[in-house]
């Protein structure tokens, strides 16, 4: 872990491999996340992205926002293509390149989960990132299994009936060397996690909370505010699981104390996608948040016991 307290301490802060002027919407979480990820990984990085917003915002041919090798891929093929790239480069004696998949929540939690699970089980030496904007944005805001309960999408007119799938937990259950959650509201924490992932062998999974103003019906300038409130309300928890050891990180650490957590209403009511929430929905979402923290507590107390 670096001990940087401020963004301006980040080395090469002004150098961008993911170039400004790309076609992301104003306030796009994906855009910020990728910029920070590349700052940490540096230029010896090869990226594959399955069908998603990222496929489009890189620029319509022949324009190109990535200043590093970047290939598009079929929707379900993100993890497998990265696997092939890793082995192809290895066969040619090239092992100093970070091979990374950068996929949306649809490409990860739905159509791509089989390929991701396979790559994880095989221990393939890649970084797999899910930038989670909680719906299929590229095709016009349809629900994914990562869409939270109550969120309106173009296929959940009255709000989604089911809870969000907990993919980081599923990935942790694969016993891979590194699983982390991150958020664009805590860029230093995100940066640190990529720095760490870069040096670990095996499959590293990083799941990034990435607001999408048009999809979430929020003003562009409020996307970081929303991401911050996700953390302060305890709805999004920053943690990492390194070789099986669970650790709260960054801005989430203090919210282990339930009294410090802000009401989830503060987080939900500023987003248009939650405008149809009923009182029951609020209660249900609160229960959901508490269950996430119960899991955290379980992990931590179990580890404490083990240490004794």
């Amino acid at each position: 872990m670096t001990n940087m307290k401020e963004i301006k301490e980040v080395p090469d802060i002004d150098r961008n491999l993911w170039l400004p002027g790309n076609a992301t919407c104003a306030g796009c979480g994906l855009d910020l996340s990728l910029r920070w990820a590349l700052k940490a990984l540096g230029p010896r990085t090869v990226l594959v992205t399955p069908a998603s917003c990222l496929n489009v915002v890189i620029g319509v041919w022949p324009k190109a926002a990535p200043d590093f090798p970047f290939i598009n891929m079929v929707f379900a093929g993100g993890a497998a293509a990265a696997t092939g790239i890793y082995h192809g480069l290895k066969a040619r004696g090239i092992e100093d390149v970070n091979v990374m998949t950068y996929a949306g929540d649809g490409g990860t939690t739905d159509i791509g989960i089989q390929g991701l699970s396979g790559a994880a089980e095989r221990g393939t030496n890649i970084i797999y990132v899910c930038y989670d904007n909680e719906a299929y944005m590229n095709t016009g805001i349809q629900r994914s299994s990562s869409t939270p309960l109550g969120a309106i999408t173009t296929t959940t007119y009255f709000g989604k009936q089911e809870h969000k799938k907990n993919l980081p937990a599923i990935m942790a259950a694969h016993n891979i060397p590194y699983v982390a959650t991150a958020s664009v509201a805590d860029p230093l924490d995100l940066y640190d996690k990529f720095k760490k992932a870069k040096d670990i062998k095996g499959l590293k999974y990083i799941h990034i909370y990435a607001p999408c103003p048009p999809g979430w019906k929020i003003d562009s300038e409020r996307s970081i505010e929303v991401a911050k409130k996700a953390i302060t309300s305890g709805m999004w928890i920053l943690y990492e699981v390194e070789n099986g050891v669970f650790r709260l990180t960054g801005k989430s650490k203090r919210y282990i104390d339930p009294k410090k957590r802000k009401p989830i209403k503060d987080y939900l009511t500023i987003q248009g996608r939650f405008r149809k929430l009923t009182d029951d929905d609020f209660k249900e979402l609160e229960k959901y948040r508490d269950s996430l923290w119960r899991q955290v507590n379980k992990e931590l107390s179990f580890q404490e016991l083990e240490e004794k």
Partner: protein, 415 residues
């Protein structure tokens, strides 16, 4: 002598594995499906026992098999896999991506019938589903040809004028699981025959942080050159592949002494034949005996084996059959709703129609051996007899096997 050189008794599937080894493939991804399994089992054994030097990745599905090969090929590696039937259907989407990216991947297909009902026996309907994907395709007829075709495929695919992936199909079980002696050439000769793998990756796509490129992003319909031109280039590469396939077959014969016709088609007694049957795969090989027998009865018959399916050997067929009185085309595959119900017969008709030398040549379509159903020489003899009768009468001969304009040899009539 090494176990990989000289004469050996091998199953058809092992011929594919040994050839992949001989071709020095660098990455193999695999997922099992009957009747392909032995191909990748053998490679797994060879890699684990240190007899084959390549990255072998046990994927969790065929979709990932092809996406993985695409990744490895983008990265500049020589790649190989094998599949069958349902597996090929499951990987359809990346199959098209591989051709669109112009990656010289080689994949053998132990062809099988498409379900339902479940079927695992010889039937080329599986590769027919991918025939317009941009892949080069060959239909093979023997164990030796499987081995040899893998070597030829890399040479053709990696030719800078082609740069298209290659599918090599042979009948499941009938070839995949039977054993025959094959001859494996000296490695040094093979190394000399094959192209060198470029040190810095392929010329047109590479993943090199020192030369960053982006590939595959969205392109607007009216950008020129653009999508339409990229697609035209795939068809152009298919056309350019024809002389290269012929050239490689010739060079192969000169180097290793084995004859695959002109690479596109292989004639059997066609030169003076009045009645010619176009056939493919193992049933074409079997039909050679029938041709000999018919000739012993005084009938001037011949057989043309369609070896290359993509690019379609239009000129080669016209050249070989233009003097015939009538021709038959035998499919071991279905193309439902097409003019004849058989893929090769439908395409042959289209191909002949546009050439003044063959535009009036009558084509009689046959379909047989579907889902591995037996086709015996008696039935192939009957196919020739029907062909001759149709010519004599000037109309289709009615029988139980005739449905619309196509004879479904060995089938019960259906209502």
């Amino acid at each position: 002598m090494s176990e990989f050189e000289g004469k050996r008794l091998v199953k058809g599937n092992f011929a594919a594995s040994y050839a992949a080894r001989a071709a020095n493939v660098q990455v193999v991804t695999a997922f099992p499906i009957t009747p392909q399994t032995l191909v990748v089992e053998k490679i797994s054994e060879l890699v684990d026992s240190g007899k084959m030097n390549c990255e072998f990745v046990r994927m969790e599905s065929e979709h990932s098999v092809m996406a993985g090969l695409i990744g490895a090929s983008y990265a500049g590696a020589r790649t190989f896999s094998a599949t069958s039937g349902q597996g090929l259907l499951y990987m359809a989407e990346p199959v098209h991506w591989a051709a669109g990216t112009r990656l010289p991947i080689v994949m053998t297909i132990a062809s099988r019938g498409i379900a339902p009902p479940w079927n695992i026996w010889a039937d080329f309907s599986d590769i027919v589903t991918q025939r317009d994907s941009g892949w080069l395709m060959a239909l093979l007829s023997g164990h030796q040809e499987i081995y040899d075709s893998v070597l030829m495929a890399y040479k053709i695919s990696e030719n800078p004028d082609v740069m298209l992936p290659y599918m090599l199909a042979y009948g499941g079980f009938i070839l995949s699981h039977t054993s025959k002696p094959i001859h494996m050439p000296k490695q040094s000769l093979i190394d000399e025959f094959l192209p060198k793998i470029p040190k810095l990756g392929w010329d047109h796509v590479f993943l090199d942080p020192d030369r960053p490129i982006m590939h595959g992003n969205l392109i607007m319909p009216n950008t020129t050159p653009g999508y339409q031109e990229f697609r035209m280039k795939i068809q152009l590469a298919q056309l350019k592949a024809k002389p290269i396939i012929r050239e490689v077959a010739k060079e192969f014969k000169e180097t290793f002494g084995r004859d695959y016709g002109n690479g596109m088609v292989q004639e059997y007694k066609c030169k003076d034949a009045e009645f010619i049957m176009i056939n493919c795969g193992i049933l074409a090989k079997q039909m050679e005996n029938v041709v000999d027998f018919m000739r012993s009865l005084g009938h001037k018959v011949g057989m043309l084996r369609l070896r290359t399916y993509r690019p379609f050997p239009t000129e080669d067929i016209i050249d070989a059959v233009k003097h015939a009185k009538i021709i038959g085309v035998v499919d071991r595959a279905t193309a439902f709703g097409s003019p004849t119900g058989g893929p090769i017969s439908s395409e042959t008709m289209a191909a002949l129609h546009n050439d003044p030398q063959t535009k009036d040549l009558r084509v009689i379509p046959f379909i047989n051996g579907i889902g591995g159903r037996d086709v015996v020489t008696q039935q192939q003899k009957r196919q020739f007899e029907i062909l001759m009768e149709c010519y004599d009468k000037g109309e289709l001969v009615k029988n139980e096997e005739l449905m619309s304009t196509t004879y479904w040899t060995g089938a019960m009539g259906v209502k």
